[in-house]
Subunit: 235 residues, 2 copies
């Protein structure tokens, strides 16, 4: 059940694998909202038939990460402003609960691992690797969630983080598009002290900061080339 390495993507079969690849491309901002996801294109890109691609797309559609319209194909979802607000509202609710449990049960080894993670975040930011920075930032939230041992809520968070990436791609300002590392550090320190109330307050504030840094008035609909965007993800 748990994947010891990163804890993130378990790909049971080929279509789940493709779904994960698409999610990864979205999280790393290589696939912009509104990008058309043609079934034949994806099939040739991944070397499978449309049957597999459709299964992957259907799963992503269930998670609201892609939009499927009858006879018109699938596109990367473009959350509206309302949806964007609801996604962050949901994150505050879910992550507040998760970090409360995480603060109770986290161990020194967990804290050490997370410190390393934050260091990697800072490194990515320092060398201007925007894709890695965004992915690592999301991973940090997922790692916190996994400390809680609440797999159901953690599963919800996974979906919310993917959708957050879409929101940030659409409404993010250039500077603040990834969480500040110092806020993550503060979060971690509160957890390390088992100070649940502070951790919850910090998380709520953190998510509010990210949301407030969004510009909920414009939209950019530019698309990236599909095949190049999906080339060689994974590490």
């Amino acid at each position: 059940m748990t994947d010891g390495t990163t804890g993130l993507p378990e790909a049971a079969d080929r279509s789940s694998e493709i779904a994960e690849a698409i999610v990864g491309a979205i999280v790393e901002q290589r696939l912009a909202p509104g990008t058309r996801l043609g079934e034949d294109d994806l099939g040739t890109t991944f070397g499978v038939s449309r049957t597999i691609v459709r299964a992957a797309l259907r799963m992503l559609a269930r998670d609201q990460i892609v939009t499927m319209r009858p006879h018109r194909g699938a596109t990367v979802a473009s959350p509206t402003v309302t949806e964007a607000r609801q996604v962050f509202h949901a994150r505050r609710v879910v992550e507040a609960a998760l970090i409360r449990d995480a603060a109770k049960s986290c161990k020194p080894a967990d804290v050490r691992a997370l410190r390393g993670h934050i260091a990697a975040e800072g490194e990515a930011l320092a060398r201007g690797d925007r894709s890695a920075a965004i992915r690592l930032s999301g991973d940090f939230h997922m790692r916190i969630a996994q400390l809680s041992r609440q797999d159901v809520l953690t599963g919800f968070l996974r979906e919310l983080i993917s959708r957050s990436a879409l929101v940030i791609a659409l409404y993010g300002t250039t500077r603040a598009s990834s969480c500040g590392t110092q806020e993550h550090e503060a979060l971690l320190e509160a957890i390390a002290r088992h100070d649940a109330d502070t951790a919850v307050a910090l998380m709520t504030a953190h998510l509010e900061h990210v949301e407030h840094d969004l510009d909920l008035a414009r939209g950019k609909g530019t698309s990236l080339d599909l095949a190049t965007a999906l080339v060689g993800r994974r590490s």
Copy 2:
């Protein structure tokens, strides 16, 4: 966005329709956990090919309502005791947030509609229609959620309610398997008074009651439950 009639099942296409039908059967306890869901059987039942059935099953698998194992087909999921607890934990988190928002924004017309709904619940209980009672009980929670106008969290709740039905089917005691109507009434009154704090407290207590009425003491770990062994052939 909102479906005026019941607000529940929008079936975009054939496979979503079939997925909804399966969920409905699970919620009404006509499909027990562990039941085998053969693709050909479902296909002939619904008059479609396996292609459609597989799409439906894959969506349900994404929601953890069915389990798909490679080359072994799909079965109705059998939540473990741990999963059962996590589902109810998640419901407390999600529904507390939802009912808080619902209490703030609900209107007299909403209250009236919900009173009618509770009456229907009582009626179903009175005539011993267990299936209808369970379905209506879940619908009540969904209706409350919809008042909050938080579609993302409401979507999570939909999944949680389906999984709760599985939990109740597996671990439910005979007597208390559906929510008491008077607790729903108290919930509604608090909402009608816009008393958010009371509504949250009542909802939390309500969900704790339902969970405590389960028999979650047996099998603590990885052991399989009796019901599964009886229904799905497992040796």
